[in-house]
């Protein structure tokens, strides 16, 4: 504990760098993945190309990527931008697949109804498809975020500052407290971000959880046999998946 009281400004600074390096790629990756996935969803040629292609990205070892990227991008090997680009690729690897799933899970009748009412494609995308894809999408987003938080540490090996620096430094100088602080801080960031995303998803999908409430008895005399109780399943499963994944990645 002594170590932390003496070094907390440095730890805070590293945590800030860590947070930036993990969140920025998620945002960029999401902005790239959503249109890619929308193009690929239900498309005979693009779907296998994008889904398999993006999955292959994930097989590249992160250390290799950190070393190779500067050569391709012409950046310094210790530049933060390398980490941002590398992790964006990983985010795309995870998100393209789950966004494709999200778009393909949409109820075709609902989409058709939207079109038949006179929605134009762009408005339908932002007004109907995207909001309805959120439940499945948010699950992928949580996995990507948490996996990023653990991956950022690897950059420390080649000298990019993050909470991972506490591991490399602590290992070199045999300071156990430093390593422990690094682990705990990483876990805390992962849990907090994961819960924030869960909350975000929760507020964006209020319409999904209302099925269990019985319709008001006086609302309609005969046919109020509320039959919407089966809407919580998909969300429940998605949430459970994200929880399992986040537990695994931050450990």
């Amino acid at each position: 504990m002594n170590w932390l009281t003496n070094n907390w400004p440095a730890v805070l600074e590293l945590a800030g760098a860590h947070l930036m390096q993990s969140v920025v790629p998620v945002v960029i990756g999401l902005l790239i993945s959503v249109p890619l996935a929308r193009l690929a969803a239900g498309n005979r040629w693009l779907r296998p190309l994008f889904v398999t292609g993006s999955s292959l990205l994930y097989t590249i070892p992160s250390l290799t990527l950190f070393v190779v990227l500067p050569l391709i991008l012409g950046t310094r090997i210790t530049a933060v931008s390398n980490v941002i680009v590398a992790l964006t690729l990983y985010v795309i690897a995870i998100l393209v697949r789950s966004c494709v799933d999200a778009f393909e899970s949409l109820d075709r009748d609902v989409l058709q109804a939207a079109t038949a009412m006179g929605y134009k494609p762009a408005r339908r995308f932002f007004g109907v498809e995207l909001p309805l894809a959120v439940p499945v999408m948010i699950a992928g987003l949580r996995v990507a975020t948490v996996s990023n938080i653990s991956m950022v540490s690897v950059g420390a090996v080649i000298g990019i500052q993050s909470l991972g620096t506490l591991f490399t430094d602590g290992l070199r100088r045999s300071i156990v407290a430093e390593i422990v602080v690094g682990i705990v801080a990483t876990v805390v960031i992962a849990v907090v971000l994961d819960q924030l995303l869960r909350l975000l998803g929760h507020t964006m999908t209020r319409w999904q959880r209302t099925g269990t409430a019985a319709p008001h008895a006086s609302a309609r005399r005969r046919d109020d046999t509320g039959d919407g109780a089966d809407t919580g399943g998909a969300r429940g499963a998605a949430g459970a998946l994200a929880t399992v994944e986040s537990g695994g990645a931050s450990a």
């Binding site: 009748d109 609902v110 038949a116 999908t205 319409w207 999904q208 008001h216 046919d223 046999t225």
Partner: protein, 388 residues
Amino acid sequence: MTEMAIRYRGVSKVYPDGTTAVDNLDLDVPSGSLTVFVGPSGCGKTTSLRMLNRMVDPTSGVVEVNGQDVSSIPAAQLRRSMGYVMQQSGLLPHKTVEDNIATVPRLNGVSKKESRANARELLGSVGLDESLATRYPAQLSGGQQQRVGVARALAADPPVLLMDEPFSAVDPVVRQDLQHELLDLQKRLHRTIIFVTHDIDEAILLGNRVAVFARGGRLAQYATPEELLRAPADDFVADFIGRDRGFRSLSFENAAVALQPVTVLAADTGERTVVGPGSENPAPWQGTGAAASSDWVLAVDERRHPLGWLPVRSGGEAAGREELRVGGTLWHEGDSLRTALDAALSSPSGQAVAVHEDGSVAGVVPGEDVMRAIEEQRATRHHGAEQA
């Protein structure tokens, strides 16, 4: 002259694999009428409907709505000018009931406040409580969702409503409510409605005119329900209409039958009187006349509503209440021959019980009188056809 709201001219839809969904369709739909497209699955009825709002484009032919070739109107604009109701309502699950109803006005640029106020008004007209306005579709029953779907279709006040099997997924009791409410709604609104169903009974109940489609996208017959039942164009139509065709066609015949007096027995006092046409007040029972010779007396309550029939014993004494046979269906004066026949057939005495508006007994019609009326109608029609 009736204005034609919708015209199909030589319209075909052939898919790239060679399947013909619609085969050279020519059809005119008068303005303000409810027209039903009916047929087995894969007969092109839904495809034909979807050509109206360009959800499907024909491979050949012209589809006109209110005198305009639909292919000349931008699809989104065309669709917003028509209400669309589908099976399973197709409500947007992430929007509240009022926002669902407000969808098309919102797309047309009406303010949120105004379109929501309008949506709440519409809830009432489809028989839903305003308290449902802020609920999500998942909180509603199937029947309620379907009502919201109808309200949504009406929100932009479109002259044309397209309804694609809107009631086929709700249970029969709710479906009956919805059907009758649609008829009431149409009486008030006079829209041009195209209604697709695979249920011939629904088609006959709702349609001013019915278009029967056969497999392969052929229009087999386009006629009023009455004509359809009486003179099916071919074996396919006759077969599709199915059993009870003759019986059901009686729904369209007004019954010109004379009421006969009947002996009624007040269940509370045991007093017998004779009720019949021309006598506002029941005549005292005298043990003579046509009504008295019947083997049955009709038991009534204090308001003279029928309770059931009691057999008359050989001594002229009516049987006790324990032998009461609950009567059949009732016939209101002015109802169709079908109702009269059904009332006679379902009555233990073989006599149809006729009731006044208030439900009190007006008299009876013996089954043979109903049969005679049916026979007379047939003869008149036959005679008329010969003269024409």
